[in-house]
């Protein structure tokens, strides 16, 4: 295990990092501007004023602006438009022929919590115990994770890192919204508590696992009983949190015994913190909606592989869905072969707010940058392109209550931006510049360093 740790923490000369930014671009880039910029490139540097000029800007707050300018100042978008003047002292990036988008948001990930999935020492997603509302993902997000620069170089500027997804856990803990750049968590955190993770209990009668080593089959009635017990227990936790909040408000401080678990659930029952409920089948989604309505708590459905079967209910109850993946196989053997591709368009047409995310896992960073790919696939099967863009930028921000801070290019919002050589959803498009929290961030990463090193092998 020690070997593994050393293996992935091998130090690299940092000075090499920035020098290979964009070496691989096949476009005649404004190299001079780029190299000038490199000297000032650091992981969060002092606040700087930038102006990206002459670019096509997809603000997602209106039609695209041709030949527009974005001004970034003090970490925020200071101005955007066709006739925006460049402030004195601003570093100018010639955006001619380039496109500017809000940075991609992987809204359900395990960024920084998993380095190598098969090595438990590098995995901080699975705590013991079934109810862990007190745990906060940001506590263990590893700022030096190699996954972060890989995701960032491919256009992902921020993510929600989710603890305790999967397994037999019911309350996984607090998911944290983070910028994908920074030396320490304090510089990275957008919101430490962005949602409370809940794995909706599923009715599974057995199977799974590899080569028949999965759980043995159990009778449905037994499984159903267990399911109901779990849902009831989840309800009890929220009820207890409600009593706890009342006691805290009304009781005297010296008689009050602090409970960190219930304390963490108070924002949930107050409707301030949404439940991020992982549910995939139509039945689980329906049950989760009923549960949250009864409990009067905010709900985001995550996963939603059969959300299309309950799209009217989702619309009626105004419940947003973060979709796991367009690049997945249909759930049932007799589903249309393209159901995962068509579902986003169907949900949109029904008026359901959707986002695309990759749910971390073994391919954390690679999965994260695939969000654009996944959104693009949905466009091929009926989702309007602008909606696809919003589903990886603005909509997930809104779901977490961050819609006023992130997700579109508007004055006053945090400057998380990507500058590309073309359509951001296309596979061949290069990411040219990335801005995170108002700072131009390095697009170098482990993948590119290995490329440079071994390409040069004699």
């Amino acid at each position: 295990m020690n070997d593994a740790i050393q293996f992935f923490r091998t130090p690299r000369p940092l000075c090499l990092r920035d020098l290979c930014v964009d070496y691989f671009s096949s476009f005649a880039a404004p190299r001079l501007v780029l190299f000038a910029a490199l000297f000032a490139l650091a992981m969060p540097a002092a606040a700087q004023t930038y102006a990206i000029t002459g670019a096509r800007i997809y603000t997602l707050a209106g039609p695209p602006i041709e030949g527009g300018t974005v001004v970034i100042k003090d970490g925020k978008i200071a101005a955007v438009g066709k006739n925006v003047s460049v402030p004195g002292g601003a570093r100018v990036i010639d955006g001619k022929g380039l496109e500017v988008y809000p940075g991609f948001f992987d809204s359900v990930s395990e960024m920084g919590l998993v380095e190598i999935d098969a090595v438990p020492a590098t995995v901080d997603t699975q705590e013991l115990g079934e109810y862990n509302p007190q745990l906060v993902a940001a506590t263990a997000v590893h700022p030096a994770s190699e996954h972060i620069p890989v995701a960032r170089a491919n256009g992902v500027t921020h993510a929600v890192s989710v603890p305790g997804m999967g397994g037999s856990v019911i309350i996984g803990g607090q998911a944290s919204a983070i910028h994908l750049n920074g030396w320490v968590m304090d510089e990275m955190a957008i919101r430490r508590a962005a949602a409370m993770t809940v794995n909706w209990p599923t009715l599974q009668t057995g199977g799974g696992g590899f080569g028949g080593f999965g759980a043995p089959r159990r009778p449905f009635t037994e499984v159903k009983q267990e399911y109901e017990k779990r849902v009831a227990a989840l309800g009890e936790w929220l009820d207890r949190a409600r009593h706890y909040a009342q006691a805290r408000e009304k009781g005297s401080a010296d008689k009050f015994e602090r409970d960190l678990k219930l304390e963490a659930l108070v924002p949930v029952i107050k409707g301030e913190l949404p439940l991020l409920v992982l549910a995939n089948s139509d039945r689980d989604i329906k049950n989760a909606i009923e549960f949250c309505e009864k409990q009067k708590v905010k709900l985001i459905i995550a996963g939603g592989r059969q959300a299309w079967k309950v799209k009217d209910l989702l619309k009626q109850k105004n419940v947003p869905v973060i979709l796991r993946s367009t690049q997945s196989l249909p759930v049932e053997e007799d589903d249309p072969y393209d159901k995962p591709y068509t579902q986003p368009g169907e949900l949109h047409a029904a008026g359901v707010k959707i986002a695309f995310a990759t749910f971390g896992g073994d391919n954390s960073a690679v999965g994260s940058y695939a969000v654009a790919n996944e959104a693009g696939n949905a466009v091929a099967y009926g989702l309007p392109r602008e909606e696809a863009l919003k589903a990886i930028t603005l909509y997930p921000a809104q779901m977490y209550g961050l819609g006023d801070k992130l997700g579109s290019i508007e004055a006053g919002k945090i400057a998380n931006l990507v500058v590309t050589t073309g359509d951001a959803l296309e596979l061949r498009t290069q990411i040219r510049y990335v801005f995170v929290n108002g700072v131009q961030a390095s697009t170098d990463n482990k993948h590119k360093q290995l490329y440079e090193k071994y390409r040069a092998r004699p």
Binding site: P120, M165, F210, D334, T429
Partner: protein, 506 residues
């Protein structure tokens, strides 16, 4: 083994009425098979007005392809339509060769990993082909027309492969790519040494447990195979000389397959990750005088591309999977580009029924990571895997006399917005998006009727005595059997978290 689990495994799926699925699959086969039945292999078809990405002879705008007897008879700009020919108008569309997946596990009935021994060269995927696996159709719908169905990676020397064409609706034999050279799976590194695998309670650990042991197992096996071959060669020689009364040596099915490798008659497809183990296998192969056809996964291939190229092996890798285990931590999406630059024939494979639905997109990424040209990138999923599988004279490019395995796309296949419209194999349309959509209402009706029937059958009075619970009366099993173990259904797999059953990783 099934990397789909990497992407799919974390969430539980919904409830599936199993019996219903089995029924519907059989219905689906009948329905989807109908266009196939309507066509005859001898028929003449012309695809017109397409942008043809030939792979070997550039791009032809507004081109036509004449198909006769399942083969490409002519490719060009002005081709006269013979009388009676079926015309497919592909105005505004793109045509590519059918995509080829050099690492797949679809269509396997039951387990594909005989993990009880470290050398299982006697078992074969050919014996467990399940033509009713719905993933055949799903992959076909993404433009895939041929696949190298491999044994799992549990053993240093695994089982024999089966190269198939995705002729959905045909029986097991009908799927086999006739004339494709036989092959076999080898595996190096974490999987054969069982690094991430907890044996079921009471089971003893299995040799090897280190990369040293993996080499030893392979060398030991070939030392035996060489003796075996010597014995047989001597016998054959004496027999050829006309000696009578000879007693043939005892047949050993395990060594028989290895003998074929030594004779150059069976292709070795070696699962591997780290640079050192790749070089190790090259040395072992050269010691015993055989060649590795492909290194599979080969995520550190870029570190020893020179050695791979010198040996003459191909490399079949993922576009960008990374970091799911230690030996995948030095993976980089630039792998394919570096290996190709250093003279290795490279393909991009799926190892996953899901990934195989969009190999065109995985190839497109290689233009971004390492700046491959469009043609070089397209070769990664067409001509190069065909070369690696020894079938390049038959498939992999749009050229006269090759098999008419073609895909018609509505946009350039490297665009994220492209959707495969038709997949042809041997000139026969096995997937037609328009027809698929048209059939959905019918399928839905059929499904409802079946559900009703099942409901009625479940009512006590209607139930014939002795009928097992839940087994639908009249329910037909699709050819090859419909029930498959969980590893064929990644979306059903229990959440894999942290130290979970890592064996499911490629």
């Amino acid at each position: 083994m099934r990397a789909t689990v990497n992407r799919e495994g974390k969430l539980e799926k919904g409830f599936i009425p199993r019996n219903l699925c089995v029924l519907c699959v059989s219905v689906a086969i009948l329905l989807f098979a109908s266009p196939v039945l309507a066509q005859q292999a001898g028929n003449v078809t012309v695809i017109q007005n397409a942008t043809i990405l030939t792979v070997t002879k550039g791009t032809i705008e507004k081109g036509s392809i004449l198909i006769r007897g399942g083969k490409i008879a002519e490719v060009g700009k002005n081709i006269a339509v013979p009388a009676g020919a079926t015309v497919i108008d592909a105005t505004g569309m793109y045509v590519t060769p059918g995509l080829i997946d050099c690492h797949s596990h679809i269509a396997g009935e039951g387990g594909i990993n005989e993990g009880s021994l470290s050398v299982t060269s006697m078992v074969s995927i050919e014996d467990i082909i399940n033509p009713a696996d719905i993933n055949i159709y799903r992959d076909l719908s993404g433009g895939l027309t041929a696949a190298n169905v491999l044994h799992g990676s549990a053993n240093a020397i695994g089982g024999q492969n089966a190269v198939i064409k995705l002729r959905w609706g045909k029986d097991a034999r009908g799927l086999l790519f006739e004339g494709a050279p036989p092959g076999i799976k080898f595996a190096l590194g974490e999987n054969p040494k069982r690094s991430n695998f907890t044996p079921p309670p009471g089971t003893p650990r299995r040799y090897p447990a280190t990369r040293l042991g993996v080499e030893d197992v392979i060398r030991q096996a070939f030392a035996e195979a060489r003796e075996y071959k010597k014995e047989w060669d001597a016998y054959e020689k004496r027999r050829a000389a006309g000696e009578s009364g000879l007693l043939a040596p005892r047949k050993d099915l395990r060594l028989e397959a290895l003998k074929q490798i030594l004779e150059g008659k069976r292709l070795v497809h070696a699962h591997c990750y780290r640079a050192d183990e790749i070089v190790m296998l090259i040395k072992v192969a050269e010691e015993f005088g055989f060649k590795i056809a492909t290194f599979q996964h080969v995520l550190e291939g870029y570190k020893v591309a020179k050695e791979i190229a010198r040996h003459g092996a191909g490399a079949s890798t993922f576009s960008d999977w990374w970091a799911y285990k230690v030996e995948a931590y030095d993976a980089t999406p630039y792998n394919a580009a570096i290996m190709a630059q250093k003279g290795v024939v490279v393909s991009i494979n799926s190892d996953s029924a899901e990934e195989a639905r969009h190999l065109n997109q995985e190839a497109a990424k290689m233009m971004k990571f390492g700046g491959m040209s469009e043609t070089e990138a397209l070769k990664l999923v067409t001509l190069n895997p065909a070369m690696q599988l020894g079938v390049a004279s038959r498939v992999g490019s749009v050229e006269a006399v090759k098999d008419a395995d073609l895909v018609i796309w509505d946009k350039h296949p490297f665009s994220v917005y492209a959707v495969a419209q038709k997949s042809l194999i041997d000139g026969i349309v096995y997937f037609d998006r328009k027809k698929d959509i048209e059939l959905r209402a019918e399928l839905e009706k059929e499904k409802k009727a079946l559900l009703e029937k099942e409901k009625k059958a479940a009512e006590p009075p209607a139930r014939p005595a002795g009928a097992g619970p839940g087994r639908p009366p009249g329910g037909q099993r699709p050819p090859g059997g419909g029930q498959r173990p969980p590893e064929n259904k990644p979306e059903e797999t229990k959440p894999v978290v942290g130290s979970g059953p890592v064996e499911v990783r490629p």
